[in-house]
Amino acid sequence: MNDCLLCEQKIASVPSWKALLALEKQTAICQDCSKKFQRADIKEEDKLLDQVTSLYTYNEAMREYLHQFKFLQDVALASVFANELRTLLKGDPTIVPIPMHPEKRIERTFAPVDELLKSARLPFTHLLEKTGMEAMGEKSKEQRLAVKPLFRLKPGTSVQPSTYILLDDIYTTGTTLRHAATVLKEAGATRVEAVTLIRAER
């Protein structure tokens, strides 16, 4: 029995054979908290991204979650969606997290997307690196698309003619993911998919 990472209540475990045999997955949050997150399960595709899957909607509970995880730096919360991410992502293709700028990473002390993957016990490879510090928020859509590439291939890495899955925490306009996909495809990837934890309504 452990405490819910979000509300700190004891997580009531129903005694069952599955639990006794340790077949049941350990849950990081309680039923009540987990009910507050709303599944989106959006799947779509466009020219650059062969498939984009988003797991959850950006509702109040998710907004609070992201605030605590990223702004309050509660690294432990990486495990809240570990089971869901693992179910979706385990398998062959190489997972490529959307990278953070190194300075920003040091400032925050951790990279949230990497932590999500570590928590889900999913292997990943950093193939990309950020080119500049400019934040996307301040620019209009046109400006964003016109700006220089957001990412470049990390020196010393190579891309195979195979499938890659990008991972990011939130999908807002898709610009970030498209920039990342462009770099991978230009380097020889045959298929680039993407998974985001959250899909924000625009």
Partner: protein, 476 residues
């Protein structure tokens, strides 16, 4: 402008260093506090200069030791949390190694292995000794006696418990003892587990001590550079104090989460100076607290309300299968009638529920009786406004969780508990809830009904204790 400020700071800090002196506003703010080095209301350079001149001492955020079994054990140096499950260790990009942070006090800014805390390390500020007690009321003989006994405990520096029934005027008892401490230049804190209690106390204390620097601290209140002599704070806020107070009064000492959390208890102790007494004020002390104070301190009991009328005795009324009825979209008949009666007689009412979900289902049904009836709970965004609306008679009544069990006074309020047999309604909670009824001189009584699906020991114990108190007995 920024450039100029930077220059000014540089010069100021240089001067400070050379003269081995300090900025009094930094001292006044930091004295008695334990703060994140990087998040003070002062420029970082100013703090750095004070560290260099040793006016400020740094302390690592987390202390990690190895046990005999070679297991690591962490202690948070801010909140003194030692519950190991409330720590998380991760691979830190800043200190490039395993780094541990405390989840317990996370919301006040994360404290980790590579976070530095700062404390004031030089001469302490001197607090004013001129204060006026503007409160004009007169204490009942019993209140006066308790007040005197409390002052005596302050002199002896022993803990004191004011065990006073709801509506006996507990806060007024504190005025004189606090005034005496302030006159002696002492720093005083009134702490309460719940923000509602702090919000209700603040205007009363400001009115009582008009010349005293008073600050109210609770989650959401902004940090100022003030260094108030009298501080009102939620117990959580005390995590950020250390050896600050000459006396602490913990109001509503038994309210969740104070009793539930050993760490909060330690935080209160840490906020007090090592020799300073920590006092408790409550209507429903736990056995543990009673035993503790019996051994180490003094107890004053007040079993009469200030207006001299007895406490309302709960009456039981069965409300079989109320959950099912409400879930099916039907308000149980007795509950319906009780509410209609209140509406007809224009008596404000509070109806307590044990479960938010059930309460919100019921809210829809109550709205069919009167659309202005609302449900409130701890994280309800409009809680304060709804309670105020009830006071202003803009709404006829509220549905609530136990969050409103204490600290609120509404003249002539009538109270019902739905599901009084539920575990959350223990003896203390029921006594507190009943304590909402009949608080004012004009309306010294009122209905206090326990709607239940079976009678529990807690219900009987609460009733027994109220009857005993009314007879003038001292509960044990």
């Amino acid at each position: 402008m920024v450039g100029l400020n930077e220059e000014v700071n540089k010069i100021r800090n240089g001067v400070l260093r050379m003269a081995n002196t300090f900025d009094p506003s930094v001292r006044d703010f930091l004295a008695g506090r334990i703060w994140l080095r990087l998040h003070t209301p002062f420029p970082i350079e100013t703090i750095d200069a004070h560290i260099q001149s040793q006016h400020i001492k740094t302390i690592p955020g987390i202390k990690t030791t190895k046990t005999y079994a070679n297991q690591t054990r962490h202690i948070c140096n801010r909140c003194e949390n030692t519950i190991q499950s409330r720590f998380t260790t991760f691979d830190c990009a800043k200190c490039e190694g395993p780094c541990t942070y405390c989840r317990h006090c996370l919301k006040m800014g994360r404290v980790s292995t590579c976070t530095e805390l700062i404390v004031w390390n030089a001469e302490q500020p001197i607090y004013p000794t001129n204060h006026t007690l503007a409160w004009q009321g007169i204490l009942t003989p019993r209140q006066q006696q308790a007040s005197n006994e409390l002052t005596e405990s302050n002199t002896k520096r022993i803990p004191h418990l004011i065990h006073a029934v709801c509506g006996s005027g507990k806060t007024e008892i504190l005025f004189e003892p606090i005034h005496k401490l302030l006159l002696a230049g002492k720093r005083v804190c009134i702490a309460a587990p719940r923000v509602d209690v702090i919000l209700e106390l603040e205007p009363r204390l400001r009115a009582a001590f008009p010349e005293t620097a008073i600050e109210a601290l609770y989650g959401g209140a902004e940090t100022t550079t003030d260094s108030a002599q009298l501080i009102l704070a939620t117990t959580h806020q005390l995590y950020r104090f250390r050896h600050a107070f000459d006396a602490i009064f913990v109001d509503e000492a038994d309210a969740f989460p104070y009793t539930a959390e050993e760490t909060l208890r330690r935080a209160v102790r840490k906020a007090a100076k090592p020799e300073a007494p920590v006092h408790f004020v409550t209507a429903t002390p736990s056995d543990k607290l009673l035993n503790e104070i019996k051994k180490t301190g003094q107890i004053s009991t007040i079993n009469r309300r200030y207006h001299g009328h007895p406490l309302p005795i709960p009456r039981y009324d069965s409300l079989w299968n109320y959950t099912k009825h409400i879930q099916k979209g039907k308000l149980p008949k007795k509950l319906n009638n009780w509410t209609e009666e209140r509406l007809r007689r224009k008596e404000p009412f509070l109806i307590f529920f044990h479960h938010i979900g059930l309460m919100e289902q019921a809210e829809l049904l109550f709205k069919q009786l009167d659309t202005r009836i609302h449900a409130v709970h701890a994280s309800h965004p409009d809680r304060k406004e709804h309670v105020q609306a009830l006071r202003n008679k803009e709404v006829p009544g509220l549905l609530t969780t136990t969050i409103l069990e204490r600290g609120i006074t509404i003249p002539n309020v009538q109270v019902a508990v739905v599901g009084a047999e539920q575990l959350i309604f223990n003896k203390g909670a029921l006594i507190q809830i009943g304590g909402r009824v009949g608080r004012s001189e004009q309306h010294p009584s009122g209905d206090f009904v326990l709607f239940h699906h079976g009678i529990t020991y807690a219900m009987d114990d609460a009733k027994k204790e109220i009857i005993q108190l009314n007879k003038g007995g001292v509960p044990n």
